[in-house]
Amino acid sequence: MKEGLIRKVPGVSVVEIDLSRAEDKDLSEISQTMGLALSLREMKALKEHYSRPLTDVEIQTFGQTWSEHCIHKTFKGIVEVEGGRRINGLLKEYIMKATKELNKPWCYSVFEDNAGLIEFDQDYLVAAKVETHNHPSAVEPFGGAATGVGGVIRDILGVWGEPIANIDVLCFGPLDLPYETLPHGLKHPKYIYKGVIAGIGSYGNNMGIPTVSGAIFFDSGYVGNPVVYCGCVGILPKGFYVKDTKEGDYAVLAGGRTGRDGIHGVTFASTDLMEDTDRLRPAVQIPNPLVEERLRRAIITIRDRRLASGITDLGGGGISCATGEMANRSGLGIEVSLDVVHLKEPDLAPWEIWISESQERMLLSVPERNLGDVLEVFEDEDVEACVLGRFNGSRRLRVYHRGLVVCDLDLEFLYSPPRAIRKASHVEYVPTPCALPEPKDLAEELLRILSDPNIRSKEDVIRTYDHEVRGCTAIKPLQGDLSGPNDAAIIKPLRDSWMGVVISCGITPFYPDPYWMAAASIEEAIRNNTSVGGRRIALLDNFVWGNPEREDRMGSLVRAAEACYDFSKALDAPFISGKDSLYNESPLGPVRPTLLITGIGIIPDVRKAVTVELKEEGDPLYVLGVTRNELAGSIYLKSKGLNGGECPKVNAKISKDTTQSLIKAMDSGLVAACHDVSEGGIGVAAAEMVMAANLGLSIDLRNVPSDVNRSDVLLFSESTSRFLVEVKRDCVREFEEILQGVPHCKVGVVGGNSFRIFGLDGSTWEVGISELRHAWRGVDGP
């Protein structure tokens, strides 16, 4: 590097860097050695703007604020698609656009604050947010996953929400991966799996927030990049959502102490995970749910007493981003002193305090008259708090350390980073015929699929999460003593209302066409929600993709985002929040592109919710929706190691009509049980209904609405928009009436003590319930 670019400021641990004299290669080197993850273009923008030297505190501020994590460079940037088309931001052009056009009056605050807010009823709001914590979990599975949960809980607190439920969706490499094949520096999927699950359970359980919804997938595409989604749902009285920081208000920092943990977490999440994971030391965070539990109490008290004017969590970028964002969104400036921050260790440099991502911290803005009360509330709950600074009208971010100004930045400039430009190119998925001879014994196939790691019961994980704490869980992830897999969870958040919040997931990472994969995920989230009786569904999107600077990764991302717009609109379900995690690359290549869609619905009366298990001998079973020969990415093919086939597509009209009719039938009290048909097709869905009830069923594949001429395809295809519905015996006529115009057919009858399948050619197969259960759960009893 050129001589004299960097100068130590006497008396304090601050250095000054003179970018104005730096050459391109110096700029890149500075970005590298300071761990900024800023591109040359961004470094040059800094150089151009500042003729004076910048302190390390200031440069780090840019590194944080302009990071992928904090400002969603890729999703807000410009995308140049092959053929000259330019997309003016994926968020704006697709995700937010759908919401804007749907224009739902019940969307209260979307894409703005730490979490999306929708109306629950007249007086209450529901807050929802889902985040990823992939990189930290790959390095330190327990702490990474636990702090992921802790972080998303703070997003809910950050909109004054009382957390009422957690969500976790996890993707790992195969647990039986031979150790020898694991590249150096990566951790074995089993180690990651165990740690992540323990971490999620530990944090949620400790906080007393039920973990009620989620999914687990296994695939070799996740060996180098495990995926950990953590979500949280909260509730708050509408009038208590305050976001009104004023000049003269104090900035109060509360919660855990600030240390070196998690420094550069943001930039860490914005670069490839290419290095030996064990060497990325400072980035691991030690979870401390006990502190967050007390913090939660204090914040809800402060909310209820209306003592503060604003709140935000400290996530990526630590104090630097929280203070900057709060000042900026309120059109203000702020002065901050680093000397008052409670530290874990004494010798932190100012820039470290400034950007540390120590967990369990929140920032509040407090009017002068309430400052004493706020500090008292924190003290009562044994939460450390300090008055970090004060908001003013300067529009500047000014930071003091030992009497010296170590950072003085113009917020306008700080929050108008150069827009990223990404290039995208995409090769469409062309279905190849899959050469799969029709197997003779479908019973055997079914048992094999039921025991596939992706299908198997996840009970041994789910029961390590407390899903009953708070006493508000009306529909649990597992149904009854026999642990049937319910499609969605329902929380009854208010004491004197029967209404429930319905929480569901949709995720179909194995479908090879990114557009239809996204469509299927959206449709699945809605379908799962509908299965238990949810309606008026809001969506959250969470993209986990590879390096967006590579055109192919970007290409598939664009296709998936397009589907988000198309199907959010067509299915009448707005996005309210979301997040993207890009740069998921490892020595084994990019992560399998994975989109999680979370569905948040409501149900007017939790007592009317529908569950998965068959109820009554003699009831008819219906299939709703059309089964097509769509095997691409299905568990049926995947479990045989085969590719090809058509990708499941979504017919929005059929889907919408079906869910609407089904809800109507449920509200009329005609439906005894319902299950959505997804991975493993009708075969697995029906088997799950049987196992959950310990009650047999026969189905006749000849009656399944379809144009398919193979029994195995009928049984295992993963076509979308389908449900299995047990209709109360004496309600058949009424049900048929409501279902008019929607593809449906009676295919079976509940009864007996086995699962019987009648094939197209008249062959029949029969499997005992206990055989099913052994395959799916490994045990027979509860």
């Binding site: 390095v139 330190e140 599975p141 327990f142 702490g143 150790y179 074995h188 180690y191 740690g195 102490r257 240390g259 070196r260 943990d261 994971t277 064990d278 990325l280 030391r281 691991v284 030690i286 979870p287 401390n288 006990l290 502190v291 874990k344 260790e345």
Partner: protein
């Protein structure tokens, strides 16, 4: 038999140690700090000290410790079923 002690690395904050410190002080003990670590006493089916040591190291690497945040200390003990 080997004894493996797994400890949070220096510099990492130990929430359990912190809470334990407070509780002990509260109970009147003159304590200024506590660190908590875990000890695995592992019975190995091998009789060779060297081999026991290298196995233990391997166990730490693969399961018992995470070098990102933990230090580990191994001690090979004599004893039944262990090294003689």
């Amino acid at each position: 038999m080997v004894r493996v002690e797994v400890k949070l690395k220096k510099g990492h904050f130990d929430p359990e140690g912190d809470v334990t410190t407070k509780s002990l002080r509260d109970l009147g003990f003159p304590v200024s700090g506590v660190r908590v670590s875990k000890v695995y006493t592992v019975e190995l089916e091998v009789n060779d000290k060297e081999r026991a040591m290298s196995l233990a190291r391997e166990m730490c690497r693969k399961l018992l410790a995470n070098p990102t945040k933990d230090d580990f200390f191994i001690e090979v003990l004599a004893g039944e079923g262990g090294v003689n």
